[in-house]
Symmetry: C2
């Protein structure tokens, strides 16, 4: 049982709270028994820790667990996972251009998995997908998707055979009129500013969701409605 | 200009960070110039405060503003609003049975406003709708809806002329097969546990959203997709 927060293993885990260490180590933390189980099922679980004695788990004292965890609520189990390199281009791609809220990112992953958008392109300005809040909101969907990372504009310019739609609050084609194609990609923009200017200049066909008024929707909601309709 | 956090006005405002004072005073705080403006437009703004000199606003020093505000980012303006008592039953009612996450609550308000579900019934176990995170996520929708509060079961038993649908991850009628009625009410349940047992026992017709797999959706996403389809 590890009882000291000065333990080298604890320090190693704690480092993974920072995006730059997650990237250099190609590892990330999941919190809670549900996510540890999902990580195990996905074959990415490297090591598991519990505050209770349990076979296959290293035991941590509650104090040490509290130091490691980001949540206010008490977590009993955590896992260290390896990042995977699944970069398949599936028939439905969700392209994220500057999604910054971790809750939105995780929720979009969850919906993408539910509606068969199995490839996510994560643009450079997005929140780190291995952030603890993203993982919590994703509810395990993070283990079931393919991720690509990079510059959205470059990716779009090289994306052949796909019908690409942008999204926009008011302009474009109403969602219920959008034609479905075998291969489709949807671009979602930043919470405050929408799609970036350089992508806007590509003049993609835009999808909009018809509403009672000119209000906007939460981006995770808008993206999920579009994925539901085009699944 | 108010520069002391000991100022009686500041203390009065700070009290409104607690749900029980909001309830007894029938007032709540909005943060940020966008929401202050929305409150003004909705005729519920009682008093406005800014860190800059501005006509109609009481000036607060940045230190005082920081003490009052809940956000990490710097807010320049806040407003004190009165709670309204708009309890109309509109033709579309969203009934919330134990929604606890403030982000989900605010997002549901935003979608409800966009899709014409103008009446929200807030069950007893829900997060306080005047919580700062709820208001922020609602993006001003809180000023445009009618709210009723109380016991969900009692409300449902007294709701005449409405076609009421529960929601469920797997059982029931697929959303694309749901009949539309002039007057409809949709019940959404708690993030972890779904609809409460006592409401479940009413055996309402359930709507489910068809998915690729047996995953669940974020409740704000599920509710928004349903409202979009039945708007």
């Amino acid at each position: 049982m590890i009882t000291s927060v000065e333990n080298s293993k604890v320090k190693e885990i704690s480092k993974l709270k920072l995006a730059k260490y997650r990237k250099s180590e190609q590892k990330f933390i999941v919190e809670g028994s549900h996510l540890v189980e999902e990580a195990h099922n996905a074959n990415v679980l490297l090591e598991a820790f519990s505050i209770e004695e349990k076979q296959g788990y290293t035991t941590l004292s509650p104090v040490v667990m509290k130091k490691i965890c980001n949540t206010d609520t008490v977590v009993k189990e955590i896992g260290i996972c390896k990042m995977e390199n699944k970069t398949n281009l599936c028939s439905r791609i969700l392209i994220l251009d500057g999604i910054q809220d971790p809750g939105n990112m995780g929720t979009l992953m969850r919906s993408a998995n539910a509606f068969g958008f199995k490839t996510l392109f994560i643009g450079n300005g997005c929140v780190d997908i291995y952030n603890d809040k993203v993982i919590r909101s994703s509810q395990g969907a993070i283990f079931k998707l393919n991720f690509l990372f990079g510059n959205v504009l470059e990716f779009l310019l090289n994306l052949k055979d796909y019908k690409i739609y942008g999204t926009n609050v008011v302009r474009g084609i109403s969602l219920d009129k959008v034609k479905r194609f075998n291969k489709m990609a949807i671009v979602l923009g930043n919470e405050g500013n929408g799609i970036s200017k350089e992508v806007e200049e590509l003049s993609l066909d835009n999808i909009y969701i018809s509403m009672e008024n000119t209000e906007s929707l939460n981006v995770a909601v808008a993206g999920s409605i579009i994925m539901y309709e085009l699944k």
